[in-house]
Subunit: 257 residues, 2 copies
Amino acid sequence: MGTIAFIGAGPGAADLITVRGARLLAEAEVVLADALTDPALRALAPQAHWIDVGKRGFGRATEQTVIHALLLHHAATGARVVRLKGGDPSVFGRLEEELAAVRAAGHEAVVVPGVTAALAAAADAQQPLTRRGHGRSVALTTAMTREHDLQAGRHADTEVFYMAGKQLPGLARQLAAAGWPATTPVSVVSRAGWPDAIHSQHTLDTLAQASVLHSGRPTVVWIGAGARALPAAPAPAERPQADADKRARSSVLRTLP
Amino acid sequence: MGTIAFIGAGPGAADLITVRGARLLAEAEVVLADALTDPALRALAPQAHWIDVGKRGFGRATEQTVIHALLLHHAATGARVVRLKGGDPSVFGRLEEELAAVRAAGHEAVVVPGVTAALAAAADAQQPLTRRGHGRSVALTTAMTREHDLQAGRHADTEVFYMAGKQLPGLARQLAAAGWPATTPVSVVSRAGWPDAIHSQHTLDTLAQASVLHSGRPTVVWIGAGARALPAAPAPAERPQADADKRARSSVLRTLP
């Protein structure tokens, strides 16, 4: 009987997969991959039979059934099968359904975690999602419900939404209705983790304007403590003199054991 | 002037770092590393000068000052400096303080995201943190406040706590007080992502008993929709016949374009 590994590919760019994920991918004989992952990931398993099971081309209802059938079919041939998912499989990855189907057929599977988009977005913006003292909790949410309604609330110190960039005006209205003040900082990153990632900084009352910039790109939006921008680096003229700087550092370093 | 990269090492085991992180680590000349990361990570940068800046041995107040001084000192020598942090730098990584210090001195930095412990724990337990239809949001929280009080609430469909395994009885009391019913599923994983990870499954009213099993190990606890166990694989005798199974799959596969 073959093996099945669910692997988080990370937010998109191929080099944000984990080393463990890359190693298992290199050993794979069959890869069922989401459409959104970086084509460069294919270079990590050039000998494998790659099957695109992404959302393009299939209706939503049949899609999961087909993926389950493909997973079980290829595992039954004795192949090493990888199910490569965007982001992390345990966060908005619909892992539950595929894992249940695999188990019901008597297979065991391994799950390799990945970098979820929120973490890549925070890294790109250089705005940590938690802040010492006033940002103890961070909530990750899909703004869209199954019924395609937009829903957003105020539950954690920092609230992160995975969504489409064109929905920002609706998100702004929901967040205001949920009680976030108009001046709350909001950070938006589209195509997090890619070289062409875009970050823009807003307050809640100007968030809607960001939809032009990020429209048509997968987008991560976060509001609250973790969306506050850190001070930028000062211009060279405003910097403390290099010598004074070095003296201050030396005095601290001398305290090292 | 040197370069500074903040890199998330993942939850512990060296192979859960990203490929991007491993590549930058291999190019590093100086690495300031947290104490908790896998010693095997050193093999990824054997030529670098490694400095342990973990919590052991330093008082809390001086620690950050010393790390800032070391970062700036080595960057000023023109070195490629890596600040290697456990998990993801943007989640409970205290990235804010170090990034602010680096910027104030006129340096730019890059941030490479990592797998935060919650994702590794969910992968180990094979219990996705989000569930279709009834698990739309997941909140990550440190149960301990700065004042070393335990605080836990009920804010998202799934609530994840990063904490010490010995604090489970206190956590159980807080969660009950916050309104979670006694029969709510709770999942506990210690040493997530490592070969010796332990997963145990509870309901809120039996969670306190888990403290013996996980005491002394870094622990991730989650409650709510995402802590519900998936059905286990059936015993071989209870499985549908392989042939019937294969026929069902074939009929689905024939619908593929």
